[in-house]
Amino acid sequence: MIRAAALLLALAGPAAAQDFAPVYDVLSHPRCANCHVDEAGIPLWSNDDGTTRPHGMNVQAGESRMGIETLPCATCHGTQNNPLPGGAPGAPDWALPPAEMVWAARSAREICEQLKDPERNGGRTLEEVADHVVHDPLVLWGWTPGPGRDPAPGTPEETAAAILAWAEAGSTCP
């Protein structure tokens, strides 16, 4: 299914296929970038005006990236979203991605280079990256983030297709 979509996208023309922009639009979106933060491990909250601020309560992901040991993410984040405005979101195994996968405040080129680098993408091929996008519950949360939060653009499938299309076209970076 994803392969077929990729093929279609590839056939649509080299200019579109090489475009990292649709992938970047998703990866740099607050639903993704707010958790893809640096080694300080302080996730971000979005304000109503589109700007971000550090997660309240001095929350830190710690070395485990699952919260400091005495205040793990799971203290507040369950396996599903709280239905109330401002409520804590939830998904299975709530945690931050590894620090080398930092996307927050990075350029399209930087994120692009990272995404291709197995050292900085969890040791994955781009095909595996695409597969990760449509199967990992925490990644999927980005498209069902609960009330009051904008979901990441498009769908997981479209994002995976965009990754594969960009990969097939040579995965050049902007």
Binding site: G56, M57, N58, L84, P85, G86
Partner: protein, 744 residues
């Protein structure tokens, strides 16, 4: 002094007729002892010696009529009574008692008068005395204004002493000995031969005697007062066994929640209740004023079903749509037509010599947001209505509910409870009225109504936003003149209006802690402007002083810096009130105040005088990679006699930190006529990691008795703003500061 002439021409906020009339016709009636409200519902076999002491076969129950909102009111009232009555505060039973004018608060009315607490002149003393008379006539059973201890200090000790001596007299008559031969200990009278007769045993005999008046014990002989006390509620509050209103369970009770128009007062046009009524556990969806209530067998089910009701809200509006429009209304109100007061007007600020400086300051709307969401339980029958809620205004609630149910006030029984915070919130009662409306539609069924946090946050009566225009001059290294104009809604007009009471005359709260700041300058003026009523406003911890402390001490700091003077030294030169100078000297000493720190660090100082308490604070901040960090807070205050050093420290420190949390990060803003904040994610306060090291000193060098709940707050925000200026060179003139400065 010009000030006194000004005051003599004025009416007082509480109503000129009440003051004049009360004094004129009231002295005889005022001196009559209050009736004992405990007699009305006295259980069989029980006896009462005065409004504060009830004795039955089980033992003694002390009546502690002032509301406990966390400030420790029950505990201190218990100790005041126990110190004279000789009962064990740790084990004695207490009760808030009924709603009754007998428990009038003689100190709170004076807070509404333009009398500087440092002023001991004839007019000021007469005015304060009139406040006591008014309060007694109005039966102001009310907690607020940091008056619990000042009002209770003599009353409760006298009640305890009188009850003790009356019990001794009963024992003396029974034993045929002289009362002076007897002593008391832990709830019993002890005869010379060691015979022990419990108070319970003596109570009915004692109740037939005329109360004995007794001298109060010498403070040197106190067992508990003046030393660190163990709060009477501390074990229950540390073990989850303390019961708040939302924890009460009644047979046959229904849980309820209320949702009202997000534009307060705009009403409900219609609603679709189909989906809600089909949900599990839902008993009914009922109309209430301005909205609807959902009744269910579980609070969460009621709240979930409330979100499934589809309301069509009314669209009438009573105030502007946006915060920006409201700021404009405040700026527009600074005209002669809206001038509310000018209690301070010395010299001629318009002709003062020196280099001029001018600056505007802003303070936002704030919500009290105590952590316990508003709740009440009401059971209505045609014969009587019972209310369980935590309130600072028992008699007002009794009368308001009687108005709703159409009953006489004596058919409405209020059972007051301790509150999970207040900060002034429990001076409101809209949720109790709503619960009474629900209960009337379900006679005989106890209705326990809990507001969701979202309902609570969006339906507050708020600390007024306030706009200040400051100007002054500096000359030859000194501050020469000071002119502060403040525009705000009137809390008195809004809050008393909700209780159907008039609020004549100027509102002292608009200029409190500014006009009476104890500074002497040749040219000094403070003017209050009343912004026409809009958003409903309320008494928030320290009321007008909560913004005026910031305005006054920021402008003063700017002038001092412009003069090139030291912020402590120049204030000491200008302050005419010895205890205020003393707290400033003390805090400077505590902080080792010694000029600028440099290296991204800064210290700021502020001193305020509110609720009769001078309070000086120094705050130290530093710049870090994560933002500005609060490192240290030193606070010195003169609360007079220190009855409980631990609680006074907690109250002063709590007031300062509460003030800092809001000064940094909280505001209620409006868009589309409704508050934009809904919960603590967008209305936050200090968290533990942001709390500086705190050092508090209560001087205790005067013999006065003052409350500590509010006076710690007003100096905190300006001390922080002044520290930030010292550290960064940026002058913050608008709260919350996080709008312009990143905090760690």
């Amino acid at each position: 002094m010009g000030r006194l002439k000004t005051i003599a021409r004025r009416t007082f906020l509480i109503g000129s007729a009440a003051v004049a009339g009360g004094v004129a016709f009231g002295i005889y009636a005022y001196r009559k002892p209050v009736e004992n409200p405990l007699l009305a519902d006295l259980p069989p076999g029980a006896a009462t010696l005065n409004p504060y002491v009830l004795i039955d076969a089980e033992g003694v129950t002390l009546i502690t009529p002032r509301a406990d909102v966390g400030q420790g009111a029950v505990s201190i009232q218990t100790y005041l009574l126990a110190e004279e009555l000789d009962v064990d505060p740790a084990t004695i039973r207490t009760d808030f008692g009924p709603a009754s004018g007998a428990y009038y608060n003689g100190k709170v009315a004076a807070e509404g008068m333009p009398l500087a607490a440092w002023d001991d002149g004839l007019v000021a003393r007469t005015g304060r005395g009139a406040g006591d008379v008014i309060a007694k006539f109005l039966g102001l059973h009310l907690t607020g204004g940091s008056t619990t201890v000042p009002d209770s200090y003599d009353k409760l000790r006298a009640a305890g002493a009188s009850a003790r001596e009356t019990l001794k007299e009963a024992a003396a008559q029974r034993l045929g000995v002289d009362r002076t031969a007897l002593r008391t200990e832990d709830g019993a009278v002890i005869a010379p031969d060691g015979t022990r007769i419990t108070y319970a045993d003596l109570a009915t005999e004692a109740a037939t005697l005329d109360p004995v008046e007794a001298a109060l014990r010498d403070p040197a002989d106190w067992r508990w007062l003046g030393k660190p006390m163990r709060r009477t509620d501390i074990v229950a509050k540390s073990t989850g066994t303390f019961r708040y209103g939302g924890d009460l369970v009644f047979d046959g009770m229904l849980h309820a929640t209320v949702v009202t128009n997000p534009v307060m007062g705009a009403g409900l046009t219609s609603m679709d209740t189909g989906a809600a009524l089909a949900m599990r556990g839902v008993a009914a969806v009922l109309p209430v004023t301005d909205g609807f209530a959902v009744l269910a067998d579980n609070t969460w089910r009621a709240m979930k079903a409330a979100r499934a009701v589809v309301p069509v809200w009314g669209t009438a509006t009573t105030h502007a749509a946006t915060t920006d429009e409201m700021w404009q209304a405040h700026a527009d109100a600074m005209t002669e037509a809206n001038r509310d007061s000018r209690f301070a007007d010395d010299g001629d600020v318009d002709a003062a010599p020196g280099t001029p400086l001018a600056a505007d300051y802003r303070a936002p709307f704030l919500h009290h947001a105590p952590l316990e969401p508003a709740n009440a339980t009401v059971t209505y029958t045609a014969e009587r209505t019972d209310i369980w809620t935590a309130t600072q205004i028992p008699t007002f609630i009794r009368d308001a509910v009687a108005g709703i149910t159409g009953q006489d006030a004596d058919q409405v029984h209020l059972h007051n409870l301790a509150s999970g915070g207040s900060f002034g919130h429990r001076l409101e009662d809209i949720w109790v009225r709503q619960t009474a409306e629900i209960a009337m539609q379900r006679p005989g069924t106890p209705i326990r109504m809990t507001w969701s946090r979202e309902q609570d946050m969006a339906h507050g009566f708020l600390r007024p936003m306030a706009l200040a225009r400051g100007r002054g001059t500096v000359d030859a290294g000194q501050v020469r003149s000071f002119d502060l104009s403040i525009a705000a809604h009137s809390v008195g007009e809004s809050q008393l209006g909700r209780q159907g009471l008039p609020a004549a005359g100027p509102d002292v709260a608009i200029v409190a802690a500014a006009w009476d700041a104890p500074y002497a300058l040749p040219d000094r003026r403070v003017t209050g402007y009343r912004v026409p009523a809009g958003v409903g406003v309320s008494s928030w911890r320290s009321v007008g002083a909560s913004h005026n402390g910031f305005f006054h001490e920021s402008l003063m700091d700017e002038l001092i810096h412009a003069a090139g003077a030291d912020p402590v030294e120049e204030r000491l030169r200008l302050i005419h009130h010895a205890p205020t100078r003393q707290v400033l000297e003390t805090v400077a000493d505590m902080a080792s105040w010694d000029g600028p720190l440099g290296d991204g660090r800064g210290r700021g100082v502020a001193v305020t005088f509110a609720f009769g308490v001078p309070c000086a604070q120094v705050i130290e901040v530093s710049q870090t990679d994560a933002g500005l960090r609060l490192d240290r807070l030193w606070l010195a205050a003169e609360v007079g006699r220190v009855l409980d050093p631990v609680n006074i420290e907690s109250q002063l420190s709590g007031g300062a930190l509460f003030g800092l949390g809001h000064a940094i990060g909280a505001e209620i803003t409006f868009a589309d006529h409704r508050p934009e904040q809904s919960n603590f994610h967008d209305y936050d306060s200090l968290r533990l990691w942001q709390v500086p090291q705190v050092e508090v000193r209560a001087l205790g060098t005067t013999g006065e008795i003052r409350g500590a709940g509010e006076p710690g707050l007003p100096a905190a925000a300006p001390a922080l703003a002044n520290a930030i200026f010292a550290a960064t060179g940026t002058r913050l003139r608008e709260m919350p500061f996080a709008k312009t400065m990143v905090f760690a």
